[in-house]
Amino acid sequence: MTSLLIKNGRLIDPSQNIDAERDLWLAGGRVKAVDRPGAFSSGSAEKNIDAQGLWVLPGLIDMHVHLREPGHEYKETVASGLAAAAAGGFTAVLAMPNTSPPLDNAQEVAALLERGRAAASARVWPAAAMTRGRRGEDLTEYQDLKNAGAVAVTDDGSWVRNPKVLRRVLDYAAVCGLLPLCHAEDHDLAEGGAIHEGRVSTRLGLPGIPAQAEINAVTRDINMVELSGRPLHFCHISTRGAIEAIGSAKAKGLPVSCETAPHYLFLTHEDVGDYDPNAKMNPPLRGEADRDSLLAALADGTVDALATDHAPHSSLEKDVEFIDAAFGVIGLESALPLALELVRRRLISPSRLVELMSLNPARLLNIPGGSLAPGQPADLTLVDPNLAFTLRPEDSRSLSRNSPFWGRDFVGRAVKTLVGGREV
């Protein structure tokens, strides 16, 4: 394996409390050493990368990605999704199990990992189905899934309605060392809804999804965490009420964590505008107060991770009557530029960005990475914080085009993504 020297960059690695100029020596696919600029001679490595003016970050990890393979390869494949991830600065993604067939057995987990290896791009970590067929009834075989390579379980897209089932999920997932991820939505209350229930749903004559659909589910699930004492992670939190409930649970010492997605931080239901299907996702874009609470929670630590909920859909699902349009937007190539915008607006620090997009996902999922301490995988994201560009659909690596951010001007993006010391 080749050795590589990354020189003169600004290393931002909260796992080591570093935000300073550092050189990194990578060899054998791992970080060998980190030291002051010039500490390693250029000749000591086979290859040198001059990172002058760049940020050197532990590789970004997106813990919420829909890769669509198997079943919907026209929307995204493992290879295209991982290519989009790498282009967006992600060195690893957590793949959601709502494929067709769903990822609810060891064979499917192994097949996903094999597709990931073949893609030779960003790493893929499998999240397996929490229950068989994602029906919220019988648990899948967690140890078998874990042995096959799964790191989390989730019925993302569906909430586990039955609290007794959730209790078993929490207890048994902890025994097997898998993180349970919860899609918190009271389906009875949300049923039929297209967008957030509020001024815009009223104006457009669309059935609404009240904020309480999320809050009800989060509140009940927190009660179940209290009963079980085991960890639970909440996916794509979108409301002030839910983030407040999670903040209170954390203050009580309950083992809950959560993520939100960039679109909830930048857009509101007003962005649905004139029935824009690229502003339709589940949970829906909420109100300004929700967005502001999420921004505050992102800064103060209540939000643990920023994850995209990358959900590719083709024009067949999106370019239709709004009520019939599929929920979801892609996000792998816009997430880091958006997060860098939050840094420029001084809402979060660069270190906090790394916590949200690398360190915390690695810790929550108990996977390698999230750090560039010696011995860690040589997974790095090199960011040019001053590179101005416009996000354009023709530049995207994803097979789908359902982004609400096309045409947006950004400053800052990933310029190199290294996985195991290899540029991808």
């Binding site: 004559g205 669309l206 004139d274 009557e321 019939d324």
Partner: protein
């Protein structure tokens, strides 16, 4: 005048696209066209050689008939399309429909669709005018205009009127377009209905008064518009039943006493007699339900003419 027409949008999606002056111009034009329907030969050559496609993706009798009559009185050719029996998925059929209609080179498309937002979806993809004949719970601009024309005829004005709209506001495109149009013309709108039939933030969104009992809305009203209770649109029980609805919200002679003495009764039809409107009032002298239908043809003639011909635009260009 030419400014008023030059800035007309390509499509008729909802009344929020128009200024009060433009709405007045539409109503004035409709008033002029009313005379055509009273002639012995009820036809003018205004749109001769023009093709109007009338595509109803949802059942309707009077709106469809009204648009066909309006187009024919203007000498336009009409083609009626209905979506029933299509085996394509909804999404494919809508885009396909748009492409197929475009390929026939019509001069206007009239669209009724159950999904909110569909007329705008088609309007953005088609080069000729699209006229919304009702989309989901979103908008029904020609209905609101015919209501406004009827009120203006009877009352002589819209500015300063107080209009009550009673019923299932949440699911009513008629209510939405009327809240927008009447408010723009200076009328004061009060809406009332059971909480389960009210959309959120109505007051903030439309600048209307909102009540859960009909009495405060009807009090002092110049016009009372009773909405059809559309049980076919409801998922789950929004109200205990028709009898209970009639008891609490139905318009009766007694309840109408709260309105001004010369108040008129409007209804977009078809009426559920004995539910939202007591049978005695359907025949009441204060009912303008049938004049509404007559005015519907005039309003649709005006809109077809204004959007297809765009009079006043040529000399302004």
């Amino acid at each position: 005048m030419s400014d008023i027409v030059r800035t007309f949008p390509k499509d008729l999606i909802d009344l929020d696209q128009f200024s009060p002056e433009q709405l007045t111009h539409i109503l004035d034009t409709a008033e002029n066209f009313k005379e055509v329907s009273e002639r012995e030969i009820k036809k003018v050559p205004t749109l001769r050689g023009k093709l109007v496609v009338i595509f109803f993706h949802e059942n309707s009798t009077r709106t469809r008939l009204s648009f066909e009559v309006a187009a024919k009185r203007l000498s336009a050719d009409t083609v009626a399309l209905s979506a029933s029996g299509s085996s394509l998925s909804k999404g494919e059929s809508l885009l396909d429909t748009a492409r197929n209609i475009e390929a026939m080179h019509p001069d206007a498309l009239v669209i009724r669709h159950g999904a909110s937002g569909t007329p705008g979806f088609l309007g953005r993809r088609l080069s000729f005018p699209v006229l919304n004949a009702g989309d989901g719970a979103h908008a029904h601009p020609t209905q609101a205009l015919l209501d406004m024309l009827t009120l203006r005829e009877v009352k002589g004005r819209l500015d300063g009127l107080r209009i009550a709209i009673i019923g299932d506001i949440a699911h009513s495109r008629v209510a939405r377009s009327n809240m927008i149009g009447l408010s723009k013309m200076g009328a004061r709108v009060a809406v009332a209905g059971p909480p389960s039939m009210m959309a959120v933030e109505l007051a903030e969104t439309y600048g209307v008064e909102v009540y859960n009992r009909p009495e405060p809305a009807i009090e002092g009203a110049d016009g009372v518009m009773m909405l059809r209770i559309q049980l076919e649109r409801q998922t789950g029980a929004l109200f205990p039943g028709n009898r209970e609805y009639a008891l609490v919200y139905g318009l009766s002679r007694e309840r109408l006493k709260l309105a001004k003495e010369d108040a008129v009764i409007l209804h977009p039809g078809p009426v559920n007699q004995g539910v939202e409107l007591s049978p005695e009032l359907y025949e009441d002298r204060r009912s303008v339900i049938l004049p509404q239908v007559t005015n519907g043809v005039a309003v649709r003639m005006a809109l077809l003419y204004l959007l297809i011909e765009r009079p006043g635009q040529a000399e302004a260009a």
